[in-house]
Amino acid sequence: MASKDSDNDDQAPVPSALKILVAGGFGAGKTTMVGSVSEIAPLSTEEVMTEASYGIDDLSGVESKGTTTVALDFGRITISPTLVLYLFGTPGQERFWFMWEELSEGALGAIVIADTRRLETCFAAVDFFERRGVPFVVAVNCFEGAHRYEEDEVRDALSLDPSIPVVLSDARDRESSKNVLLTLVNRVAERMAA
């Protein structure tokens, strides 16, 4: 689209966008992590989905064609005038798995936040990204009052491939979240080199 106006000096370049997904169970700290590194307060958008088109049976019988509204929280990091990175917190509930298919399309990679108080809530996300071949790292969110686990314990519990990085993190802390992001992007670069 931009080529038409390429001779127009006034026209600002249209940046390309990249996205990274932040997945994890409800209350694991997805939006907190997004907010800790985003240049804008996390925004929320709602995508209306027709449930029937995704093969979900309408069990309620209330409407013949149900729609469901899926809320996505996201943040933005402007890398350069020509490159913008978006971080999307993905819905954790099982019934929104179909969204991940759409969301994971073209994603640079994913961060799975593991909440050690309820580790099982991130199993689905790990399964999903493994199956889809989306590069991911596991960020163990260290909540106050939660028992501290060692990286290896978490790795074992999740049966992770040794190549998948596990990082202890605090989703509220910008430096900590930066470290998780850098670990992920380095992982993407490694996989590219491999």
Partner: protein, 149 residues
Amino acid sequence: MQAHNEHDPGEIPHGLPHRDAVGGFGSDESEPTGQQEAGPLVRPYVIAQGRDHADTVRLDMISVVIAAKRAEVDEMALEPEQLRILELCRRPQSVAEVSAHLDIPVAVVKVLLSDLLNRGLALARAPYTAKSPVSRDVLQAVLDGIQRL
């Protein structure tokens, strides 16, 4: 204007009913249906004049859009929401951001935007996808950008 094809997406073929239906976005807050639940889900499709993805340009959640700088905007030919989109997109915004800022569902934003793109009033760039993977340089730029935060 009357001579135009009635399917021209920029026309307001049914005039007032649409105005009423989108009143919630302007100063008129009256809610004709009174159904809190159904309202926000239904009304945006009225804005989009019943069209769906079929005739829209392919836009992603993170397609980035910017208003064309020198385009002449015929305000009468556009929906009020499209004018708000152009206003917002003086700076580059993703489809998701437009949706969040204007409180319009993503699917509807795509319809309104694709009309603006077809009219040459906005420019869009598709995001990186699996088919156009990032280069090493881009990855390095991302690493540098995150470091600078």
